[in-house]
């Protein structure tokens, strides 16, 4: 294993790690157009390792499209640089292998496989052909640790399809962890969760983000206030404002956009 533990000690902070040479994700002039409609318009983002960045904005602002573009799902122009490596223009699975992982709005786990199998598959994209052709005989340490972190030790052999909604989201986060991604892009991870599940997820995010580059799309402003170390606001495909939660909330441009639409604490998807 390259990482002895999935969760080193520490807390995320605005601006990221203060020591060593932190990893980063640098998005420059990212644009995505659908048939002439500019869904993402020259977006610039810079997220450092150790920062828990939230990406907020009204419906249709292009938040998910930004993540789609970074992960190679939709073609885009501009540049996305992951700690010195340009990732834009590569194929989805190559980008994933470069350490960029994501989750989806609707939890997408492999419903016909067990929780353990889901994690084992997520941990294994680097396995050689011989290892692939052999049976899974033991549980890898990283998988075991992830099971514990996401609180599904007891459900390891359960079919993922019968997990509760919140558990599926956690399983996806666990898959990201064992996938050994250092860039985590999470698309509304707490949508549809109960209050208890939300705070558990929030704590989990803080622990994870301390050592990683984390970008979370979220609508729930209470959640953002509680857990974000920094925030970027996206509206109509453009970055409107960036900074701490307080700074962003004080920004008249942001107030304008939000008051003009659905208010600050809507939870609708798009």
């Amino acid at each position: 294993m390259t990482t002895p533990t999935l969760l080193p000690e520490g807390e995320p902070q605005a601006g990221g790690l203060r020591h060593g040479r932190p990893k980063y994700l640098e998005v420059r002039d990212l644009s995505v157009s659908f048939d002439g409609f500019l869904a993402v318009d020259n977006v610039n983002l810079n997220v450092m390792q150790g920062d828990l960045r939230f990406l907020i904005g009204p419906n249709g602002a292009g938040k998910t499209t930004v993540i789609d573009a970074i992960t190679g799902l939709v073609p885009a122009s501009g540049s996305v640089n992951h700690t010195g490596t340009e990732i834009l223009g590569r194929k989805v699975h190559q980008i994933a292998r470069l350490g960029v992982g994501r989750t989806f709005q609707t939890a997408s786990v492999f419903e016909n496989l067990s929780v353990l199998q889901n994690l084992d598959i997520a941990a294994g994209s680097g396995r050689g052909p011989l290892k692939m052709l052999r049976r899974r005989t033991s549980v890898e340490p990283a998988v075991e640790e992830a099971l514990e972190i996401i609180g599904l030790e007891g459900a390891a052999d359960k079919q993922a399809g019968i997990l509760a909604h919140g558990q599926k989201q956690w399983l996806e986060i666990g898959m990201l962890l064992v996938q050994n991604s250092d860039v985590l892009l999470l698309d509304e991870p707490i949508a549809g969760m109960s209050q208890d599940e939300r705070s558990e997820t929030g704590e989990l995010l803080r622990r994870i983000a301390a050592s990683r580059i984390t970008l979370v799309i979220e609508h729930d402003m209470d959640f953002v206030r509680e857990y974000a170390t920094s925030v970027s606001v996206l509206a109509a495909g453009k970055v409107l404002s960036e900074g701490s939660v307080a700074q962003v909330q004080a920004d008249p441009k942001v107030q304008d956009v939000y008051l003009g639409t659905s208010g600050t604490s809507g939870t609708e998807g798009h």
Partner: protein, 294 residues
Amino acid sequence: MELLIGQMFAGLSLGSVLLLAALGLSLTFGQMGVINMAHGEFMMAGAYTAFVVQRAISDAGVSLLVSIPAGFLVGGVLGLVLEAVLLRRMYHRPLDTLLVTFGVALILQQAARDIFGAPSVDVRAPAWLQGNIELLGAPIPLTRLFILGLSLVCLAGLVLLLKATPLGRRIRAVVLNRDLAETSGVSTRRSDQLTFFIGSGLAGIAGVAVTLIGSTSPYLGTNYIVDAFLVVVAGGIGQIKGAVIAAFSLGVLQSVFEYSTTASIGKVLILIVIVVFLQLRPQGIFSLKTRSLA
């Protein structure tokens, strides 16, 4: 030169039969995700309808004119029954619909053998369709010209129906987004049934058309179904424009290949062309753009 024009025209008329067959397939595939292997047998049913009608009405001209709507009706009703009994429970399993309808195709073929016998039967073309006209020195059989015209008329009718009637708008809405259409109050049941009726009816007309250029046997459907599917694949699922381009291109290519090599090598070449084409456009000539992950 004359030979080339003749070949081109043979290709166009083959293309027009493929188009009639593929339009229905493409509609039902696009709207419901149903891959209907029995579509070829609906063609066969249309062809046998023409045969039966001609037995009742001996005048070949009148019987042809009666056969076209009759074939449409027979194909359409078969489609309606298939949709109501089997397919409506299977909209989320397109690959399984292929196998189920293959079973239906087997049954219909055997039924045709039991009713009409295994040897092929012939339908007489009316006197006014016998003979040729000259086009740039090449003789063009009137029957083939008639088929080309028939398919263009059907195409125009279909386009008009889809673009200009409320029914057509509903069908297009369901193709684009079934769930949204449903929540917006479109009765997907009704429009599914109508699409199936129209699509299968077009296969019936295609069946009537091919009686003019060949004899009718229980195997008629099998001869056309694979090519009709290739048209749908190359044209893009649910895309009428794509189907038109693909049908005529395939028809012409096939007759050119057959002319310059042999029929059997021509088939192989067509397939290679399509596989290579899909390397460039994996979704066919035209495709729907969606944001969904699927």
